[in-house]
């Protein structure tokens, strides 16, 4: 089975944490959609609509631009220094101007993918 990467919102991050109480997921690689709001060398923050921010650990060759809408693919990890849960960035795709995206559609999509996982993700475990 090829790698599946569920589309989620920041509030779902904990469910994909490797040591989550719900038992291990088939994957802890997820997709998030947000606007790049800060870049600090090896970390960056994206703002996901009005669902809050997510801090990402970057690889040296990662290419992100401030103020752009990005779809990111990453592994859910603990941030150093008790900073909560973040994402180790594996890949990102630049969708351009955040104004061109209706974030509400994405919210609905995330809802639908979790409601009807049978056509999106192999589950076996709790969705």
């Amino acid at each position: 089975m090829s790698l599946q990467t569920p589309r989620i919102l920041p509030s779902h991050l904990h469910a994909f944490h490797p040591n989550t109480a719900n038992g291990p997921r088939s994957t802890n690689t997820v997709r998030l959609l947000g606007t790049v709001t800060s870049l600090r060398g090896d970390t960056a923050t994206i703002t996901c609509g009005n669902h809050g921010d997510v801090t990402m650990l970057l690889k040296p060759d990662a290419h992100l631009q401030m103020g752009r809408l990005v779809e990111v693919l990453g592994k859910v990890v603990d941030l150093e220094g008790g900073g909560g849960i973040g994402l180790r960035l594996l890949a990102n795709y630049d969708w351009g101007n955040p104004a061109d995206c209706d974030y509400k559609i994405y919210e609905k999509l995330v809802d639908v993918t979790h409601r009807y996982p049978q056509i999106f993700y192999d589950t076996g475990d709790a969705y």
Binding site: M1, S2, L3, Q4, T5, P6, R7, R31, L33, L69, E71, A91, Y93, W95, G96, D100, C101, D102, I105, Y106, K108, L109, V112, T113, R115, Y116, P117, Q118, I119, F120, Y121, D122, Y127
Partner: protein, 284 residues
């Protein structure tokens, strides 16, 4: 629904129907036996890659089925993970986050070198329709197998530049999936509301059972559907519910409820208990 998909299909660079556009003749000779059946099912279905991988084939050479419905033409959107150009075809590896599949687009040598059509252009042809590695692409095609490998014979591959198109496609795929597994949405306030905006419990087997029960029901008016669904869900004794009580719970005129009740009694899905105006679901 079909009308919408068909118009989208016709509008995208290959003329609607079997207009003899290069691909169709080859298609016919490839599967002479299945040709006729396929001609009857030209519906373009939006799907996810996982659905393609999960599609079943009752026997070799049979048409594929998704959610029990014959599916030949499909459309999906994903990220292009690999592009491999051969002399006769271009193979794209497409990943939409639910799985990965190869799409093969045959290069039509007759149109490849003319500038005024987009048909048969492979990558490397500069222009607005160039497919980029790791970019998103929308693939229109037919599901096929070669050996044990499943792939999509692509009619048309074009880049997706607007993220809303991606998200809407996935929602559309869900809507069509629900159409085939649960039947068409019922009355506006009935099954329709239970569809996407319904409770989380909907996704459970119980929810699905409710809908399959709905599907076996005879055609009925929207009011009758509401009455039936209330009778099914409302806690009640084995005497069922009185017509007046149903009317007040649904906020409908008693006369309408009485008429709906007669309709349901007529089709035999409910029965009257202690008196003529008290009804219960007829459990089979």
């Amino acid at each position: 629904m079909d009308g919408g998909y068909n118009s989208g299909y016709g509008g995208s660079s290959f003329g609607g129907g079997g207009g003899g556009g290069g691909f169709m003749p080859g298609e016919m000779s490839a599967s002479p036996a299945g040709g006729k059946g396929e001609m009857n099912n030209n519906t373009l279905r939006p799907v996810t890659v996982k659905q393609i991988l999960d599609a079943s084939q009752p026997f070799p050479e049979a048409s594929f089925q998704i959610d029990g419905a014959d599916t030949s033409s499909i459309v999906f959107i994903g990220q292009v993970r690999n592009i491999s150009s051969q002399t006769t075809n271009v193979t794209y590896k497409i990943d939409d986050g639910t799985g990965e599949i190869e799409a093969k687009q045959w290069i039509d040598s007759a149109t490849a070198d003319t500038m005024d059509t987009d048909d048969g252009k492979g990558p490397g042809v500069p222009g607005k329709d160039q497919i980029e590695l790791n970019g998103y692409a929308k693939v229109f095609g037919k599901l096929k197998t070669f050996g044990n490998k499943r792939f999509v014979g692509a009619h048309c591959v074009r880049p997706v530049k607007n993220i809303n198109e991606l998200h809407c496609h996935l929602l559309e795929a869900t809507a069509v999936h629900l159409f085939f597994t649960r039947g068409p949405p019922g009355g506006a306030a009935g099954a329709g509301a239970g569809g996407i905006a319904g409770a989380v419990g909907d996704a459970s087997m119980g929810g699905a059972d409710d809908y399959s029960a709905d599907r076996s029901l005879p055609a009925m008016s929207p009011v009758a559907r509401k009455v039936y669904s209330l009778l099914r869900t409302e806690p009640q004794s084995n005497e069922g519910l009185h017509c007046q009580l149903i009317a007040s719970k649904l906020g409908l005129p008693p006369a309408d409820v009485a008429r709906a009740g007669e309709e349901l009694l007529g089709t035999g899905v409910i029965f009257s208990t202690v008196d003529e105006q008290t009804w219960a679901i007829l459990q089979l």
